[in-house]
Symmetry: C2
Subunit: 193 residues, 2 copies
């Protein structure tokens, strides 16, 4: 997705430890026009796929999922971090290890919002080691629902998450796959470009 | 906003302790068509107001803020709970006490994304005691930016937050103000209806 490559090159910041910060337009401040282009692109890539629901995990996936959902005409459910007293007893839950936050947290989805008839599109901003996605996949499996596909904005191709997900036989569409970054020159290498 | 009143009556659930659950359409599963109506209504109510940015707090405000931002043509910034190693050093921060989660947490906004020229619309799903909003207001003040207004989907009129915000002289637009709920009969009373 060329406009995404261009934007990452323009406004992405490479940090030590192979960290790519895109917080000025994707996951802290959000450029809603760009999110709309991303939503349209997901719809185009999954145009032939039946989808009844979009599932993401808080927090940075929510905006992307909501904007994209307008093109799919389905509801969005977001998995919540840690138990809230406002959530009814019956939930699907799993543990996710956060690479960014260096900790493990519980995520939950109310059983009311996933059922065996659902064909679920998973959406998230980043795919690195895949822990968050594997958690969502486990939750969808617990509900007996089907995963229709996985839509990711930025995949770090040099980390294992993408390979793990593809080897599970899931259809993974990453709009930008970063295969390498040069911290000194600021160069970013995208797969297929 | 009549369609919101109707939807809360149809799908909202009254729980003991004056809890109103709207998680089937607003803050766990999200009905994107309804969110679009909410976004249009915010735009209509703030049509005469200059707004350069929408600020919300993770997690349940994000979807509403992003959908609404499409009508304002401005970026969304969401305040993040707790320090992430992926956020650069310079942040505005405050503490927010969560009524729902019965705990206090730090929220931060990168200084890059709020500046003294900004006219900020605060958006959130719920207003009860106002702690989350007061935190956002403090962050906007720290940045030397101006608060253009506050847009809330559901205000609990029997809790003090709305009064506190109005007494600060801020323009608060709550699309549904719940003045009372009857746990036994399921009745919900909206202000001005």
């Amino acid at each position: 997705m060329q406009i995404l490559f261009d934007r990452i090159r323009k406004d992405g910041v490479i940090k030590s430890g192979k960290v790519l910060k895109v917080d000025s337009f994707l996951n802290h401040q959000m450029d809603i026009e760009l999110l709309n282009e991303i939503g349209k692109e997901f719809k185009q890539r999954f145009a032939d796929t039946e989808i009844t629901k979009i599932l993401t995990v808080e927090a940075s996936g929510i905006g992307i999922a909501c904007i994209a959902a307008q093109y799919f005409h389905v509801p969005v459910v977001f998995a919540k971090k840690s138990q809230s007293v406002n959530i009814d007893g019956e939930v699907y839950s799993t543990q996710i290890e956060s690479y960014t936050h260096k900790r493990t947290y519980d995520v939950i989805v109310s059983k009311k919002f996933l059922n065996p008839q659902d064909k679920v599109l998973l959406i998230d901003d980043f795919l690195a080691n895949g822990c968050a996605l594997l958690g969502l996949i486990e939750i969808v499996a617990s509900a007996g629902a089907q995963i229709a596909g996985v839509g990711i904005v930025v995949e770090k191709g040099f980390q294992s998450g993408g390979e793990v997900i593809r080897e599970m036989g899931l259809r993974l569409e990453s709009l930008a796959i970063v295969d390498g970054m040069n911290e000194k020159t600021g160069e970013i290498f995208f797969r297929g470009e």
